[in-house]
Amino acid sequence: MFESFWRPTLTDLYWFSPELALVGTLVTLLIAPMIVGRSSRNATWIVVLGTLVTILLSWKVGGDVRSAGLSGLAPPEAAGMLILDNMSVYFKIVLMVFMLGVALLWSIGSAKKEKHAEEFLILLVGSALGMILMAGTLNLLMIIIAIELASLPSYAIVAFNKRNRRSAEASLKYVIFGGISSAIMLYGMSLLYGLYHTLDFARIAYGVVADLQAFAAVDVSSVAQSVDASMPAAQNTVAIGVALACFLAGIFFKIAAVPFHFWCPDVFEGAQIEVTTWLSVSSKSAAIVLLLRLVDTFSSATGAFPGGASLSALTGLAWGLGIVAAVTCTWGNFAAYRQNNVKRLFAYSSIAHAGYMMMAASVFVHPDSPLDYSPIAAVLVYILIYVFMNLGAFGVAAMVVWRSGNENIDAFHGLGRRAPWLAIPMLCCLVSLVGLPPFAGFIGKIWILLSLGASGGGLYWGLVIVAVLNTLVSLFFYLRIVKAMFFVDDGQESFTPPISGLAMVNVCAVVLVLMGTLFIEAPRRKAEFYASNLFRPAILKGGMSHAENAAIDATQGELLRLTEGVARIEGERNRRSDRQAQTP
């Protein structure tokens, strides 16, 4: 019976070599101390090397997949289990660049006195691996494994400073909230599995759309005929609602969307500042990318029906996501105002920024009429910009905190005089975080707002208004830091920060300026390219019945084995387009 199991060939493994390279880095980190002895310098070099290899491999693999004429790739017979498409490649590269920055920051600050460097880095790389998997899967089981793989090391890394009361408490809160949310998410998944008898999210989305459409139609019986007979009968929409809500709760937890954000400020405050930096971008952006993929699956599922289901079936979902996004954004900005602790302030700021990104994720686009401004591309650009904004801002904050041992805003007093080359990049990052020209944050916000505006509709213009008003609110608390840096001077000593740290934050600031002035279009065009051709399992490709879809889905697995050549894929495509032409 084992003959029937799929065994990966070398080619198959090659497609997932970036992940394997990360796993290799993990293993090397484990083994290296036994061979060359414990040394944080060696460990850091291993991570840097592993990250660079991962970036290169992602780049190459992504190029190979495209040159083979494929929009995406998943192992056969488990469509969507592990997806390799442009978006996942993009996310891998961005996340790895960010991890390099975090590792650099850590090596500047804490590495020298750290006795457990290997363990710290293993946890870091482990959570990165989980996040990468999150960004490249459409399978419920894989989603939960990826989320847990990202979460468990994060819980531990927050508690890494064992003697610190605040880290201990933060990690306790994190693990308990995280455990609860993943348990609830799993419950939602089990319900989805029960409703649609599959763990493949594409099929689930297809079923959900069919059911919701049937429910939305006035005359249920007539729609029941138009929906394919091979589909199970319309399910109870309440069950669908509960299941989806439970499922999304887990993702919202990772995003720290309101009302699942309570962990975020405490964890950010309690953790080491390098860890805070890492969590502020990575866990949120990974979950956002996952959310984008789910949303895209939903909206492309509407194109899978012969008559073409309308997006209106998903209105409820869009409103739900939009409202959560608006509330998240507003809450984050208002709550940040009261904070004195810089890490806590940035925690709320990151909640707000996740809200902006979620706004774009609430846009459902019909696959046949894509927008000129893809919301997915907008979010991808935003993530890139956000990486630099946060790396710069946290980098400066870290150097100030290390210097003064004080995490409150008054540690920044007079920074403009004490360390101008920290204060200026901090200013750039903060203004960019507010979203004012001429910095990249403004551009990132523009793409998101344009994608909202281009999709029209009351909800989205409402979100635009909320977003611009939030820009204003956010100004208040970012300005507090600016004021502390330039307008208040209580005579603290000036200091010279480590040169590599200075280089890092200034590079971030320069990147932000360049992306806000001269190179506005290029990042978006790149992102547009990476957001195009999302992997969509055959069931979502439309124009055929459920049964046919299932059959093609089964054969697509075979087809995707590149060992059999691209020619067959082309043939299959032609056949399908012929068939589509025959059935107008």
Binding site: L436, P437, L450, A454, W461
Partner: protein, 565 residues
């Protein structure tokens, strides 16, 4: 026709950046060289602005089109390419209106830099860098022909001025800087949403179908009835939120007096001279042409608020004891005139409005400079603590009186002509003249505004009397000669004020060339297209209200048509 220097506007706008680069190279303690460098940079920018002006007139003569935009250049910036579906590009160009404001900006800047030589003694390098950055932003706003560029520059001016007020300002500088930043940003974020909506509207409109922020295209769209009235209504409010706060318009003016009082002299001059004009310029360049129906609809409301602002500002100025605050409130009053003239929807009114912007920039800027010079010597601006200064400071007295007279609109000086035209336009607004249909203002508005002029004369002259005449009152320990300043204005200070005075006289005596530059642009770029399209056949018999009813119905029909198709 080829321009003399390609991209002269870009060159001019970005030239301060080169100066900033050199400033960064100079040792921060070498104040002398820093000042010289900043001065050279601002003079170079002014020279480039003059070259641009000459070039503009040459191009206009060559094309025989004084009413068009010249010196245009376009470079793809956002979007796929120029003219693609996403058409947001780096577009610059000037017409008569923007050219005159560009010249004003570039002219004031060297004077401001020169004026800061003695008053700024800390963080000199940062100060000049911020000042020059501010100049980039302001020139960018006036040259922009793309809403995106416009907005970027519009917002960008906030940051340098925030720091100029917040670092080099008076005792309450932090509060003032914050208030300034937050007020202004509040409006402009709403405006930003409106800009996006406008672009989106262009995209969904038949015949355009481009996601464009090209101001000229949007103007054409607005003038051709492609924006339904109800949409215009909302967009006008959003744009007004952005610009009215900047102007500052009556109910939202409260940030201005504080910002003026706390800002260093240069900050005040730039704020009054140029930054406030960004608001009025925005109304003139965007609200009126792109949203013509809503502008006419809102004209009485805007004019009423403007008149309230004129009188309220004047009354507030009357009771001030701080000279700078007095001039700040007078700005509120004066900018009300700009708004009033604009919304008369008459050539005379709008031309007067632009002239008023320039004159206010010159005379109020000069007043702030004079006050700054006094402050450097006496460290106070309280009228109760200084008096009779005409005796120790005859030069200062001369300039103060001169600019006061210019500010209150003495015939023969620059203020008069703008004021006169504004009132003329307002009073004649209800008539059909200049080939323009009737506006909605009338004699009543003009009469009320004229009251503001009388108040203006009263409080300005009162101020002069209290500061200059009577027994000499000087705070103990002053005049402060510790920084090497003589009791009266020194040669440098006189040379700062003299050009301003000369320009005031020239503009007052012979404003013809300026008016001839501005008027065609106003006709063509603010009113004309509208007039061609719609009002050409209208007679006086049609009351404005009727026209609006027709507009609204047509707009509703347009809407229905779109929906059914």
């Amino acid at each position: 026709m080829a321009d003399w220097i390609p991209n002269i506007l870009t060159l001019m706008t970005l030239s301060p950046l080169l100066g900033i680069f050199f400033l960064m190279l100079i040792d921060a303690r070498d104040h002398k060289r820093l000042r010289l460098m900043a001065m050279v940079t601002s003079l170079a920018t002014f020279a480039l602005a003059i070259v641009a002006a000459v070039d503009f007139s040459r191009a206009a003569d060559a094309a025989d089109r004084w009413d068009a935009f010249h010196l245009k250049s376009t470079t793809a910036w956002l979007g796929d390419s120029v003219g693609g579906v996403v058409d947001i590009a780096y577009r610059v160009g000037v017409d008569g209106i923007s050219l005159s404001l560009v010249l004003l900006t570039a002219f004031l800047m060297p004077l401001v830099v020169w004026g800061s030589f003695s008053s700024i003694r800390e963080r000199v390098r940062e100060y000049f860098i911020l000042l020059l950055l501010l100049e980039v932003g302001m020139l960018g706003v006036f040259c922009a022909l793309d809403l995106f560029l416009f907005y970027v520059c519009f917002e960008f001016t906030l940051v340098p001025l925030y720091f100029i007020i917040g670092i080099w300002g008076g005792p309450q500088r932090r509060k003032a800087a914050n208030k300034f930043f937050i007020y202004t940003l509040t409006g402009s974020v709403l405006m930003f949403a409106a800009i996006l909506f406008l672009a989106h509207h262009a995209y969904v409109t038949n015949g355009i179908g481009v996601f464009t922020l090209d101001i000229l295209k949007l103007t054409a769209m607005g003038q051709q009835y492609l924006i339904p009235y109800n949409v215009q209504w909302w967009l006008f409010l959003a744009f007004a939120a952005g610009f009215a706060i900047k102007v500052p318009f009556f109910p939202v003016h409260t940030w201005l007096p504080l910002a003026h009082t706390e800002a260093p002299t240069a900050g005040s001059v730039i704020l009054a001279g140029v930054l406030l004009k960004l608001g009025t310029y925005g109304f003139l360049r965007l609200s009126l042409p792109i949203l013509p129906d809503a502008s006419v609809r809102f004209a009485p409301m805007m004019a009423t608020l403007a008149v309230i602002g004129i009188i309220y500002g004047a009354l507030c100025a009357w009771v001030q004891t701080d000279v700078k605050k007095l001039v700040a409130y007078s700005s509120v009053s004066h900018l009300g005139f700009c708004m009033l003239g604009m919304f008369s929807m008459k050539m005379a009114g709008a031309t007067g409005s632009v002239l008023y912007m320039l004159n206010h920039g010159l005379s109020t800027g000069a007043l702030f400079l004079v006050i700054g010079m006094v402050y450097e010597r006496y460290h106070t601006r309280e009228m109760s603590r200084i008096g009779g200064l005409a005796k120790p400071m005859p030069w200062m007295a001369f300039f103060l009186v001169f600019f006061t007279l210019s500010s209150i609109g003495l015939p023969g000086l620059n203020g008069f002509i703008g004021e006169f035209l504004v009132l003329l336009g307002t009073a004649a607004s209800g008539t059909v003249s200049d080939n323009l249909s009737a506006g909605r203002l009338g004699f009543g508005y003009a009469a009320a505004a004229a009251l503001g002029i009388i108040f203006g004369a009263v409080y300005m002259l009162l101020m002069c009397r209290r500061v200059l005449f009577g027994p000499v009152v000087e705070p103990p320990g002053t005049p402060d000669a510790s920084q090497g300043l003589p009791p009266d204005l020194n040669l440098r200070e006189r040379f700062i004020l003299a050009p301003l005075a000369i320009v005031c006289v020239v503009l007052g005596v012979w404003p013809k060339p300026l008016i001839e530059t501005i008027q065609p642009a106003i006709m063509a770029n603010v009113f004309q297209v509208k007039q061609d399209l719609q009002y050409a056949g209208e007679t006086d018999a049609v009351a404005p209200e009727v026209i609006f009813a027709v507009d609204a119905i047509e707009a509703a029909d347009d809407n229905d048509g779109e929906r059914s198709s």
